[in-house]
């Protein structure tokens, strides 16, 4: 585990090199996939995108297909790496837990000044739910995308029913992926979440922030409480070191 406290620097390390690399490979290749996927639709010429200096390639379907393939190579390899690497290590911190939906609603309310945030583990309950949602969307994109690539190379006359399912699953999952992507980036813009942005850039967040907002996690890595069977409920305020 990369998680550790560096008190002299007021830092709590959330992510190691591997996790940061996974995140940014998936994020950047995902962005490239969204763009090159859009350019596989007849939009670049119609909307003069291909007239923008440096984007001439956007109007060439064969070139944007190569970009799409190159990005999907990284995206798929990183996604499968993520599943196997963390699955075998038993890293379950982002898997949704019982009570996450209710807890998420409370957290959302607290963003708008209604009630207080509960103390958090390493991840917020809505982060775990978003992770599961994004994982499902990515799984659909990968499976349907692989069917389409196989068709492009080996089976242009594959079953039309299978192809239509793959095509529409891919198109609908693309829309969901874009929405989830926007929501993910938007979440970081919310004031209480902003300190987490440093975490996904450098791997570490401010320790005082972590002690205030993620006391369950800090207690866990400080060895103050044994790792629990993690659920979002019951609330564990009484065990929170940062609590008054």
């Amino acid at each position: 585990m990369a998680d550790r406290i560096i008190r002299e620097k007021n830092r709590a390390v959330r992510h190691g090199f591997v996790e940061l690399t996974e995140h940014w490979v998936i994020a950047l290749s995902g962005l490239a996939l969204v763009l090159s996927g859009l350019f596989q639709r007849p939009v670049a010429n119609r909307y003069y995108i291909s007239s923008v200096p440096g984007l001439g390639w956007a109007g060439d379907y064969f070139v944007s297909l190569k970009v799409h393939y190159a990005a999907s190579l990284l995206f798929i390899a990183a996604a499968l790496f993520h599943v196997l690497y963390h699955g075998l290590r038993g890293d379950l911190g982002m898997i949704p837990r019982r009570g996450d939906i209710r807890a998420s609603m409370e957290v959302m309310k607290s963003f708008f000044g209604k009630g207080e945030e509960p103390p958090f583990h390493k991840y917020l309950p809505e982060q775990r739910l978003a992770y599961a949602g994004m994982a499902a969307i990515i799984a659909v994109l990968i499976v349907s995308g692989l069917v389409k690539v196989y068709k492009n190379i080996y089976a242009p006359d594959m079953s039309y029913t299978v192809l239509l399912w793959a095509t529409w699953a891919h198109n609908i999952a693309l829309i969901l992926f874009v929405l989830a992507f926007i929501a993910h980036v938007g979440a970081v813009l919310l004031k209480p979440n902003r300190p987490l942005f440093r975490g996904i850039l450098t791997g570490a967040v401010r320790l005082d922030y972590a002690e205030r907002r993620h006391p369950l996690w800090i207690a866990e890595i400080a060895g103050e409480v044994p790792p629990k069977k993690e659920t979002s409920e019951p609330r564990q305020r009484e065990t929170t070191p940062a609590d008054p």
């Binding site: 393939y69 798929i76 390899a77 499968l80 492009n152 006359d157 039309y160």
Partner: protein
């Protein structure tokens, strides 16, 4: 006579493979009676030594038959046709339906008259032109809505109820065959000003007729039996045999990665292509046209291998970490004990 009998033998073998509900296309041309006798891959042969452009007719018989069959394919056009934004391209052929000497949304087949100077000897060839029904057609494989599909029998068919008319199929076709009619199709019901621009139309090899066991209308109508349809391997063998006999040339066997339309000609296609007057809707016949998507096939194969690559590296990384942790725990145990 002997040749005819041999062809009949070929035909009989094909026919014997016919099963109920499969194709039994009869009345074959020129050399006898090849049959498209099975639901496997079909191909067509166009023999330019036989096509004379139907000199006694205003419109060649094959073109007329195709036009008659598809007269009502395009539904009523929206009035007014929405003007797309921001590029205001509207393609409306509804007031030019009579055009039969080029490809249009209302005309999927035309006969290209080519005047050739063959070493000082003038020669006229008539070249029926329509969709080549490629073996791996980019127009179909990268249609974003899978509105265009290659079927097992080889026909590449645009589903006009799914097509948005973005003309991507035309852009990636080496011959720019599909033609757009604005003001029809599903886009009218979604965001007509911002997405889509009509429906693309082209020859579908009379897919419906083939599934009913009938020949394409153009082949049935040809008075000179200049066109054939049949099982792919048999058509290829027939085309190669004819080319050998006339010391001629083939087109479509290897072009764009291979197609289901094989032309046989006594004149080289280099010369035919050079002599063709090329205008929009009247494509050339450049020999050796490359399948552009082949350039991305290697990368595509790597994509298909990506799940295994990611899984293997992920598993290796995890086992390395687990082994390291075990070693650490053993060391800590020794130190503590």
């Amino acid at each position: 006579m002997k040749e005819t009998d041999e062809k009949r033998g070929l035909s009989r073998r094909s026919f014997l493979r016919t099963t109920a509900g499969t194709l039994a296309v009869t009345g074959f041309t020129g050399i006898g009676t090849l049959r498209a006798a099975e639901a496997g891959k079909l191909a067509t042969l166009i023999d330019l030594s036989l096509c004379d452009g139907c000199p006694t007719m205003t419109v060649p018989a094959c073109v007329s038959a195709c036009r008659d069959l598809n007269r009502d394919t395009i539904p009523a056009i929206a009035d007014p046709i929405p003007v797309p934004w921001p590029r205001k391209t509207v393609e409306d052929w509804s007031d030019r339906r009579e055009i039969s000497d080029r490809l249009t949304p209302y005309n999927y087949l035309y006969v290209h008259r080519v005047e050739i100077d063959q070493g000082g000897r003038q020669r006229t060839l008539f070249v029926p032109r329509r969709c080549m029904h490629c073996d791996n057609p980019a127009c179909a494989t990268i249609c974003p809505f899978s509105a265009n599909h290659k079927f097992e029998n080889g026909a590449v068919v645009i589903n006009q109820n799914r097509c948005f008319g973005g003309a991507k199929c035309k852009a990636v076709c080496p011959w720019k065959i599909p033609q757009r009619q604005s003001g029809v199709g599903i886009y009218l019901h979604i965001l007509p000003d911002y997405m889509g621009n009509g429906v693309m139309y082209k020859c579908d090899l009379c897919h419906d007729r083939l599934t009913r066991g009938e020949q394409p209308a153009c082949i049935e109508a040809c008075p000179r039996q200049a066109m054939l349809i049949g099982p792919r391997e048999e058509i290829l063998a027939e085309a190669e045999g004819r080319a050998r006999n006339m010391r001629g040339y083939l087109y479509g066997k290897d072009e764009n990665g291979g197609t289901s339309t094989i032309y046989v000609s006594p004149v080289s296609f280099d010369l035919i292509n050079a002599s063709m007057a090329r205008e929009p809707g009247r494509p050339g016949m450049k020999p050796g046209v490359k399948r552009e998507m082949a350039e991305s096939d290697g990368l595509g194969k790597a994509v298909l291998a990506a799940p295994a690559l990611g899984a293997v590296v992920g598993a290796a990384g995890a086992f390395r970490w687990l082994a390291g942790r075990k070693t650490r725990l053993v060391k800590e145990g020794k130190n503590n004990g």
